[in-house]
């Protein structure tokens, strides 16, 4: 499959003088939205580069008179999370160890489920899908205590594998939804012809569906990575003590300490650090939002 770049396959549009004006309007609208979206981030970044006195003295948007990276250093390696004053770095690894496997497993399972539900229909598959889908709406507080019992029974309490288990279980509904919808629109001709050629269940999946699923894999990975990385409730309840504590719980301990001076600058730096992996995922994944991957495939 040829590598497809963003600008290569595009829909030809009408060309007229009017479209130039429209394009300016387009940019204007997109620009205004961009500014609104960036505003809080701007506040956060600007605050993270000031000293505490400067934060108190200025207002939201005032630029730091003497930008300093000290809050960032502090957030990464010296700020206190409870009694351990080593910053965020240790918890970062915990989060990665939890998130990457959970995303991978839930995505694979979701893809397989979507595949089965759309290409291997059987009686009652609609109901199965609906039942799985409904799981997306269950608020997590409800499952907290029963899940605690379950994890205890499985011997997975207060551990990273336990967290992975939970995130896979509650991520399944979304991954299944995303892949199922995507595969529903996937032309069946390809699959049928593969079957005629003798390909079995997994081969069709591996050779035909998966390589053409890039956009939806991207969407799924973004959603799952974000949700799992940013989860707080399960993290604090099932990994609250040292060993497996994810970065969100550590961040909460830094930001929500109930007494003392609130070091807003360090908090903002810490929050941005905690958000970096997700941001990286977004940037990397963005390259795969390509149109027309299907273009050549259908003609057979």
């Amino acid at each position: 499959m040829a590598a497809v770049t963003e600008a290569s396959i595009m829909v030809p549009g009408p060309r007229s003088g009017l479209s130039v004006a429209l394009r300016w309007l387009l940019f204007a609208i997109l620009g205004v939205f961009a500014l609104i979206y960036l505003f809080p981030l701007f506040v956060m970044v600007v605050t993270s580069l000031k000293t505490l006195d400067e934060v108190r003295a200025g207002n939201l948007l005032s630029l730091p008179p003497n930008p300093t990276l000290e809050p960032w250093v502090s957030a990464w390696s010296t700020t206190c999370v409870g009694l351990t004053c080593e910053g965020l770095k240790g918890y970062f690894l915990n989060s990665i160890l939890m998130t990457v496997p959970a995303v991978a497993i839930s995505a694979v399972l979701g893809a397989l489920n979507g595949y089965v539900l759309t290409k291997w229909r059987f009686r009652g598959d609609g109901i199965v899908f609906a039942l799985i889908l409904f799981g997306c709406f269950i608020p997590f507080q409800i499952v907290l205590l029963p899940m605690a019992r379950t994890l205890g029974l499985l011997g997975l309490a207060s551990s990273t594998p336990g967290l992975i288990f939970i995130h896979v279980v509650y991520g399944l509904c979304f991954t299944t939804l995303f892949f199922r919808n995507y595969y529903a629109a996937f032309p069946n001709d390809l699959v049928k012809s593969a079957m005629i050629d003798g390909a079995g269940f997994f081969r069709i999946f591996w050779r035909i569906l998966l390589p053409n699923s890039i956009p939806i894999i991207v969407v799924t990975v973004i959603w799952q990575f974000t949700n799992i990385w940013n989860d707080f409730l399960f993290g604090v309840s099932f990994a609250g003590g040292g060993g497996a504590m994810p970065v969100t719980v550590a961040l909460n301990n830094i930001v929500n300490s109930s007494t003392g001076v609130k070091e807003y600058n360090v908090h903002m730096a810490a929050a941005i650090i905690a958000a970096l992996p997700t941001l990286v995922v977004y940037v990397l994944a963005g390259r795969y939002f390509v149109r027309g991957l299907m273009a050549g495939a259908v003609k057979g």
Binding site: V11, F27, P40, V43, V116, I142, L177, Y182, P215, A295
Partner: protein, 306 residues
């Protein structure tokens, strides 16, 4: 288009065919089983809890019938929570979807800086609300945030005190919520738009359809599954909106921005009224089902017809 069903058995049932029949269900089974236990099993557990007098921890032997439900409806905070959820839900889902679709369509127009813009709209989801909540609290705080900024810039008559106004505080949560996740809705729509077969579009162009017409008549109808996903995602976030509320208003001023998720959490874990919290959870789930199940039904029904 024919649905792929079990291989036509012309009398022969080779092990391979049998495996092909059973394999899909086998593959689906773990997910299904885990969902039955960890979703429906736990819901049943919660249902049972709601009929006990559990306080701090589950007390399965303290049967209370429907007393918790009576207490629930007698609690003014509960009615406030439900109303807030309705306001928040409708506004949040509606506006997120609209903005998401708008941005996706705009971004679909072959722009050079698409990558950067896409990341800008998406990034709010990346940042944990524990801290963007603080940033928003500042921005919306009269005297510290937007208000002060406008005054400093000269518009002294500008006031924006929604955050501390009991009637309007819920709308601040809507604003912050939309900011956070409409980017993801946009990403979903963009993926969907990009998945549209370009042959169809070329055919439409040849037929002389203008861009708006192409969008309205062809592309958006093809997006139905994406609307479903967008709805599910937004509804999920709206219901789960616990972190958001806690960070921005913590239910205040007074008790004006309580939401069902906050109610359930607070009563179960903070106020040691687990039975009551479970009752609220059951009602929440019932309300959600009442809205979502018909929608799912109609969508999935329609999907089968192809």
């Amino acid at each position: 288009m024919a649905v792929i069903s079990e291989p036509a058995a012309a009398g022969r049932r080779s092990p391979f065919d049998w495996l092909q029949t059973i394999l899909p269900k086998l593959v689906l089974a773990p997910s299904f089983a885990v969902t039955i236990v960890c979703v429906y099993g736990f819901i049943l557990f919660t249902l049972y809890l709601s009929m006990t007098n559990s306080t701090m921890m589950p007390r399965l032997d303290s049967w209370a019938g429907l007393t918790q439900y009576e207490k629930l409806w007698a609690d003014p905070k509960w009615t406030i929570s439900l109303v807030n959820l309705a306001i928040y839900g409708v506004l949040y889902i509606g506006i997120s979807t609209a903005i998401g679709l708008l941005l996706a369509i705009l971004l679909d127009q072959r722009i050079r800086i698409e990558g950067a813009l896409r990341t800008i709209y998406l990034y709010p989801m990346a940042i944990s609300f524990i801290v963007t909540g603080t940033a928003w609290k500042w921005i919306l705080n009269p005297g510290l945030g937007l208000d002060k900024l406008m005054h400093d810039l000269g518009w002294t008559s500008f006031t924006f005190d929604w955050l501390i106004n009991g009637d309007m505080a819920i709308y601040t949560i809507v604003i912050a919520g939309i900011w956070q996740s409409s980017g993801f809705v946009m990403a979903m729509f963009l993926a969907g738009l990009r998945g549209v077969d370009s042959d169809i579009l070329k055919a439409a162009a040849i037929d002389g359809a203008t861009l708006p017409q192409t969008y309205r008549r062809i592309i958006i109808p093809l997006m139905r599954p994406v609307f479903l996903s967008a709805f599910v995602v937004s509804a999920h976030l709206a219901i789960k909106s616990f972190d958001l509320v806690m960070a921005l208003t913590a239910g205040g001023p007074g008790t004006s921005t309580w939401m069902p998720a906050l109610y359930m959490y607070s009563l179960t874990f903070t106020r040691n009224q687990m039975g009551l919290g479970a009752a609220s959870a059951v009602i929440m789930l019932a309300t959600i089902s009442a809205i979502i199940v018909p929608y799912l039904y109609s969508e999935l029904r329609g999907g089968r017809r192809d």
